[in-house]
Symmetry: C2
Amino acid sequence: MAGTSPAMTKTGMPEHFSFSLINSDGAARRGDIVTPHGRVQTPAFMPVGTAATVKGLTPEVVAGTGAEIVLGNTYHLMLRPGPERIAALGGLHAFMNWPGPILTDSGGFQVMSLSELRKLSEQHVVFRSHLDGAMHELSPERAIEIQALLGADIAMQLDECLRLPASRDDIARAMQLSLRWGERSSRAFESRAKEGYALFGIVQGGDDIPLRLESARALTAMDFHGYAIGGLAVGEPQQVMLKVVEETAPALPAERPRYLMGVGTPHDMLEAVARGIDMFDCVMPTRNGRHGMAFTRFGALNLANARHTADPRPLDAESSHPAARTYSRAYLHHLVKANEMLGAVLLSTVNLAYYQTLMTDMRAAIAAGRFAEFRLETIAGWERGDIPALG
Amino acid sequence: MAGTSPAMTKTGMPEHFSFSLINSDGAARRGDIVTPHGRVQTPAFMPVGTAATVKGLTPEVVAGTGAEIVLGNTYHLMLRPGPERIAALGGLHAFMNWPGPILTDSGGFQVMSLSELRKLSEQHVVFRSHLDGAMHELSPERAIEIQALLGADIAMQLDECLRLPASRDDIARAMQLSLRWGERSSRAFESRAKEGYALFGIVQGGDDIPLRLESARALTAMDFHGYAIGGLAVGEPQQVMLKVVEETAPALPAERPRYLMGVGTPHDMLEAVARGIDMFDCVMPTRNGRHGMAFTRFGALNLANARHTADPRPLDAESSHPAARTYSRAYLHHLVKANEMLGAVLLSTVNLAYYQTLMTDMRAAIAAGRFAEFRLETIAGWERGDIPALG
C-alpha cells in the first residue's frame, strides 16, 4: 500500500508521502517526512487544531512557533461542521487556512473520551454526540472517508481505545478488533484515498508488552506508511508509558515514522525520542497555556502564582520566540488574574514555541551525536528550575 | 497650560504635544496629533485596551489594523494591577508592549457604569470595586496622579457622568461639578505631569444644549490641550447625540482636537466627523467581534446566522486587511458556533481594521474635498447591504 503511485504537487512534480531517516543516535532518530503539503522534520511536535483551529491562534502565529504540521480531530470535525461541508469548501487546509501538512486522527480516542454513549460492534461504533445528543456512526471505512474528505496528508486507522487500567482480556479484545479495523482501514484507504497521501496503523495492547508486540508485528505485515502507538497517555504512570514505548518501538520497521499519540509533557517527549519516537501531538501546550501555565527551559511556571506579580523579567530572555522574550512575567500574571484572552493567546504561543524549540534542539543533538548529553542537560535545566528574581 | 516646555523624545529632539489642523471640508476636519510616543492622524479611532490589553489581540495585531493610538481605562487599571505597580514596571507602554501613543480616561465613566456603590462629594467619589468589593477613592488630583503613573500621552480630567435621561437639575449639577473638577485636574496636571504630555477637558451637560455650551465655554477658558464631549452614548437616541455634537463642536476652539468619548458605530462616527469630531474610542468593534458580529463596507454581519454556514466567500475580498480577505464566512461561522477563541480574535481584528479603514477613507475624502459624497456613498454601501451568495 505504501507504494501507491505519485500525486502531483503544485510545482507539477510528483510527490509521494515519504520518510527518510537521516541519522540515529542510540535509539533516537532524526528524519524527514515529505507530504503533498510540504516537509516535516522529525522529531516533530504537531499542535492540536481540534475544531479546525489551534485554539486562539491564527495559522500565522502557529507557523511562527516553528510548527510544520498540525493535527485535526475527525471526531470534532465530523460533528461540526461536517466533513462533506469542509470538502465542499476546499478541504481542511483551505478551510482553516493552514497550507502545510495536516494529520487527522480517526476519531477512536474521542469516541472513548468525549461521547456520552457508545455501542461498539465488529462493524462499527455508534455514539451520541457530546454537542447535541444526535447519534452518529463511525466505521473504519467511514473514518477513512471522512479523512479523505478533509484532505488529510496523513490519515489514521480507526482503533478502539481503552482507559487504563483495564483487564488483559479487554485489552486483548480491543487490540484484536483494532487490527481487524486496521486491515479494513487499509483496504478502504487504497480504494479511495488520493495518491501520495498516507495512512498510519495504530499499535494497541495497553500496558501488556506481548500484546503490544503482537499488534506491532501484525500491523507491520499490513505495510502502513507509518505506525502510531496509541492507547497511552490515558492515565497510566509515565514509567508504564515509557516501558511500552521502549519495547514496542524496536518492533516497528525502522524505515517508517513512529508516532506516539497524545503525548505529552516535555519530559515525556524527551524520553520517548530517546526510545525511538519521531512524532507527537498533545493539547497540553495550548490547554495549559489557557490555564496560566508556561513551559520553559526552567520547567513549568504557573503565572497565576503571586510570586510573579511584580517580576519585570520575561519568561525566557534567551527564547527564540519574541512572545517569551518581550512580555514581563508581571504582565502575564496580570492577564491571567484578569482572565484576559490575551493571556491564553500569549501563553499558548510561548508553549508551542517551547515545544518546537525542544524538537529543534533534539534534532540538532541527534545530528551532532550528543543526544544523551542533551537529554541530561535538558532535564537538569528543568530540575534546576527558575532563576529567582532579583530584589 | 497647553504651552508647557518640551519633553525630550527618543531621538533627542524636543517633542511637545501638538495638534495641527491640515484641512477642513465643511465641518469635517483632517489633522495630526503629535505626542511623546508618536503621531496620530485624525479623524482617529482608538481601540480600547481596558485592562492593559485590547482583548485577545497582541499589540502587533492591533498595530496591523492601522491603529496609531490605544485607550487605557484608569478605573480598571487602578483596581488591577494598580498604577504604582505599572509605574514600577516602566509605565503602561512598556507593561502592555504598546510603543505608540496612549490616551487614558479618568475613570469617571466606569465609576458610574461599573462600580456597585458610589458616594459622590465635592471632594471626590468613593466607590466599591466591582472586582472584590474593596472601597476606593478617586479625586481629580488622584485621577491625574494615576494617569501620570501610567504614563498616558493624553490624560483626561475626572468628570461626573450621568445616565440619560436625567433631570435638568441633575445634569446642571453634574456639569458644574465637572467644571470645578476640570479646574482641579488642570492644576494637578500642571504641578506633576511630565512635560510634553497632554490633558483634555470634558464637556458635560447631557442633552441640554445651553448647559453644553456653558460647559464648552468654561473649559475653553481653562486652556486644555484638547476637548472631549463626554456623557453621550449612554442610552440616548443617535439623533440626540448628534444634535449635541453639532451644537457643541463649534463652541470648542478650532485649533484643538475634539474627542467624542465612547462612540460608536461606523455610522455614528461618520456623522460625528461631519460635525467636526476628530477622535473616537469604543468597545464595539472588539466586544461585538467577540459576539460574532463583523463590521464591513456592506454593513454589519452576524456570523452566527445560518445563512453563512456554507458561504465560501471572505468577509470582504477588497478589504485592506488579510483577515477579512482570507477566511471564508463559512469558517468564521463555524468558529462562532463552536465558541472558538479564534472567532473572537479574527472578528475583533476584522472590525478594528474596518474602523481604521473608515478613518483612513474619511481623511482621504476630507483631503480631496469630497467628504459629503464619501458620506453618502458609505451610507449607501451599508444600506445596500451584503452581496447575496451565488448559488
